[in-house]
Amino acid sequence: MPDILAVLNGVSPAWFLIVAGLLAWGAPWSPVRKALMLIGPCFALLAWFATHETGVYGVIDLGPFQLETFRFDSLSRIWVLVFILIAFINGVYALHERNRMTDGAALIYAGAAVGAVLSGDLLTLFFFWELTALASAPLIFAAGAPMAHRAGLRYLAIQVLSGVLLLAGAAVWASQTGSWGCDAIGVDSAAGVMLLLAFGVKAGFPLLHMWLPDAYPKATGVGSVVLSAFTTKLAVYALARGFAGEGALIAIGLVMAVFPIVFALVSNDLRQTLAYALINQLGFMVVGVGLGNELALNGAAANAFVGVIYMALMFMTLGAVLHRTGTVKATELGGLFKSMPVTGVCAIIGALSVAGVPLFSGFVAKTLILSGAHYAHNDLAYAILVYASAGVMELSVLKVVYCAFFGEARHHQVREAPQTMLLGMALAAFLCVYLGVDYRALYELLPFGIDDYEPYKLNNVFGQVQLLLGGAFVFALAVGFKLFPLKSDHTILDADWFYRRLGDGAARWGKAMGELLVHAINTALTAGVARLRARLFNLFNPAGALSREFPSGLMALWTAIMLAAVLLVSYFSPMS
């Protein structure tokens, strides 16, 4: 065993996942793909363990610049570990599914996310950044419906745009500083702002977040699990790398923590509710990054770690529900706990983790960020986070659990989820509980050492429990008095209206106007040569095939115009 570890030392775990993904993509036999989905993460995990020393490995020399593909340090290793873990858990969870496209895509996606975290320079980051976009899109397409297709296209467009922004920002950054390094950047320069926007798109900054609740609910059941895990957490990592301690992030994060709550309450699609809850989670992490002190950064890292697991768990339970009932709409579900008890228990564990109940993983992570806000003497941030954390996040996850598993029973004659799905969920649920109890294991992974921090202090636990009880009480009252906004199946407009309706309308209008304009110009330009054109048309027109060809006359005119332009410019140029 030590021999193997020695060999793997310094080999980026990303390659194992990506190679396994490529093989799985090409493999026509389902068992082989399933095996790859389990073996790939195992090898990646081995490589993670094998690399003891922090440092830069896997440097590719490209002549003009060097690509650092494996920068292993205290910040990156925790992200890599959780990405590998979730790839494995997803491998177990997805064992029942027979879809060649999603198997390979999920692995490549995981590998790309790991690679992006491990990249030491902006170019490598860009490469893996775009790879995550490209590899994740099939997870949405695989759902098959035209809606999913369109949502996937929108998702892909936004993700690729983020990558383009990243590349542009990186290029400007490099031209200003002469370095492609992926280190602290700051928003003092235009490059910094571009990079912040690039990261912000993936991190779901307010008004840039719309792809998240748009695309995730339309992915396949398995796909949404993977989607929830990687992209956004990767963005948080990038922010922690480049913009730690950036004051603007606190405000952005607070908005992110608060506004999705309302949307989560009213959206009827439970996966969309979860997507909003995910944005709220991200808000916490962004605040943590913005605060920038060691405690808060630790909190962001810890939150990312446990957040990946419990959000994946929540999506897994909904995936199981979707698998059995074919829907995740709040208005069509209810009372499933009787028929799917194990899934229900897992969902409850996930919800308790999300809410941050003591003894569950959410608690030990979230309390770090709250402490960070407190020690930074940022009372407003603290108050808002408390509001967002205990009180209302609970509303959203409680809603998911209540609507799906309790409440009024609808007529779903369903069986318990498949064994493999249950196993995957159980693994994640175990981690949720284990990390909440044995929190030292989590804290040891954090980028900054915090041996003296103790989450389970009486006042801390008591206060948290009080918060949660209050939130639950309000929820119970609201449900009891039928005040909870759960009336019908509907769509709630969000920022995506701006491009799905306004932008769409503007594009259609622009296209129509543009066509009119081109038509008018063409008519005006070709009036003089219309006769020649008609003659040519008569001569060379086999059944109107020429209609889409441009006549030479138009082009001759262009040539003359261009000649005139060059002549004018060169005629009036000064002598050198």
């Binding site: 490469f127 745009l161 095939a545 060809e549 441009f550 030479s552 261009m562 060059v566 060169s570």
Partner: protein, 508 residues
């Protein structure tokens, strides 16, 4: 004259002229012979010999600032016709002949599929003449001789495009369109050369460069420049003078499209570089102004508008043709910067674009042979049916988008760097917008290739892809990857070429 390290000295000494003359003389037996196979063999051997000469010349010019001059008929340069090879056109000649060889390997199955048996040997003959003409354009050091070679290369090209009429009669109108446009372009060029001759009394390009240094204010010279730039811009499909190109690429036989897309506009582009930077002094105000205020805006407009046009095409080859116009915009943009870094990036993109469009059009040719596929929606499921070809196509498309580890990324990267050095943020923005558009139009094809299932009944039509297509196709696709990771050789070539273009003009 530099003694070659590659061919025997007797041949090496005459390599410049052999490069042009061998395809020309071999075109005659190809025209007389009746069988397509023999024509193909002759054409291939002609292209191979030309490639050998090009390699020889390329190696000989690797030394710093080395220039090979060959006086035709023994008449010394300012009076006689001179063939002149430096770092700039040595690279182009290598690209040209290399592309010809690869395209010819691909040609046999493709031509047998698309051209009538009795026309095949004539087809190869025309191709050889065209190759000879293009090589002549690239190699000659005499401005009027360049015009002659331009015509020699163009006329067979019109015929080659018209051969596509077997499959689609629109090839005829396209060829005619191209003929009219090509004639206009060549005429403009020769008018410009006439003006220069009037002003300086010489046709030799090196001599012109020497004389023009002091004639900055001469309006006749400026007229000449304008005509030459526009005439060549037409040949190089500079937006908006590109209207001939989509039809020509879309309806020509596959092999012709592969060859044209990789070489023809590139050669015209080379001539623009040669004239703008070498013959005319780049420090003349009117050259810089024309490049900055006319070529650059048009290049940017082309990058964006042509990409957008590509987005709406339904015919795959037309789509790629519009993309070629956009890519020509990238090269023009590099040129428009007027800096050495810009020209170097432009030349790099020229080479890289040949690599990626070669792959793309070849793969389309393979699809067309196996399934008669022309339209985007007909590509459905081809990823499963022809995995090798579809993978190569995908690689080419990724390269076109500019994904890292492909050549497309390298040249865009250098182009962006050159633009930044110039402080042209708008150019960077244009490159990025165009790249995003490229993502979308490539995506349209790739989704059909890989994601959508195979339509009913197509599986029964399956034919194996001929090895003669697979070999050059996979080779080119790998080249996209290899030079994307190990970019140093191509970058070096491009930088040498740019140095040759710019330093030669400053009187050295």
């Amino acid at each position: 004259m530099t003694v070659g390290q590659w061919l025997p000295t007797a041949l090496a000494a005459h390599a410049p002229v052999l490069l042009v003359a061998v395809p020309l003389i071999l075109s005659t037996p190809a025209a007389i012979l009746r069988t397509g196979r023999a024509g193909w063999a002759i054409a291939l051997s002609g292209a191979l010999l030309a490639l050998l000469c090009a390699v020889e010349l390329f190696l000989a010019t690797r030394a710093d600032g080395a220039v090979i001059s060959y006086a035709l008929g023994g008449w010394p340069p300012p009076f006689g016709i001179e063939f002149r090879v430096d770092g700039l056109n040595a690279a182009l000649l290598l690209l040209l002949t290399g592309a010809a060889v690869l395209a010819l390997i691909f040609a046999r199955p493709s031509v047998e599929n698309e051209i009538n048996a009795d026309k095949r040997s004539l087809f190869y003959s025309a191709f050889l003449v065209s190759l000879s003409g293009l090589a002549g354009v690239a190699i000659t050091g005499d401005a009027f001789n360049l015009f002659v070679f331009l015509e020699i290369s163009s006329i067979p090209t019109y015929a080659l495009i018209a051969m596509g009429a077997n499959r689609d009669r629109r090839a005829l109108t396209s060829a005619f369109n191209y003929l009219v446009m090509g004639a206009i372009g060549a005429t403009f060029f020769v008018i410009g050369v006439g003006f220069l001759y009037m002003a300086t009394g010489t046709l030799n390009m090196a001599d012109l460069a020497r004389l023009l240094v002091d004639m900055d204010g001469d309006r006749v010279v400026r007229m000449g420049f304008a005509f030459i730039l526009v005439g060549l811009g037409l040949k190089a499909a500079l937006f908006p003078l590109h209207l001939w190109l989509p039809g020509a690429y879309a309806y020509a036989p596959s092999f012709v499209t592969v060859f044209l897309a990789t070489t023809a506009t590139k050669v015209a582009f080379y001539v623009i570089i040669r004239f703008s930077f070498d013959v005319f002094a780049i420090d003349s105000g009117f050259v810089v102004n024309a490049l900055t205020y006319v070529v650059t805006p048009l290049a940017i407009a082309g990058m964006i508008v042509a990409s957008a046009q590509a987005l709406f095409q339904t015919d795959v080859r037309r789509l790629l043709a519009y993309s070629s116009v956009a890519q020509a915009g990238y090269m023009m943009l590099g040129l428009g910067m007027g800096s050495q870094a810009g020209v170097s990036a432009g030349v790099l993109h020229l080479i890289n674009h040949a690599l990626m469009k070669g792959v793309l059009f070849m793969a389309l040719g393979a699809f067309a042979i196996s399934y008669g596929v022309r339209r985007i929606e007909n590509c459905k499921g081809l990823g499963m049916m022809m995995p090798m070809t579809a993978s190569a196509f995908t690689l080419g498309a990724l390269s076109l988008i500019g994904v890292p580890f492909t050549v497309g990324f390298i040249s865009k990267f250098y182009l962006i760097q050159a633009a930044l050095a110039q402080g042209w943020i708008f150019a960077v923005a244009a490159i990025l917008i165009s790249s995003v558009l490229a993502v979308f139009y490539c995506y349209r094809i790739l989704v059909n290739l890989w994601v959508t299932p195979i339509p009913e009944g197509r599986r029964d039509l399956a034919q194996p892809t001929p090895y003669l297509i697979l070999v050059p196709l996979v080779g080119l696709a790998l080249a996209n990857l290899v030079f994307g990771v190990h970019a140093a050789p191509l970058v070096d070539i491009a930088e040498t070429a740019a140095a040759a273009a710019i330093n030669a003009g400053t009187g050295s």
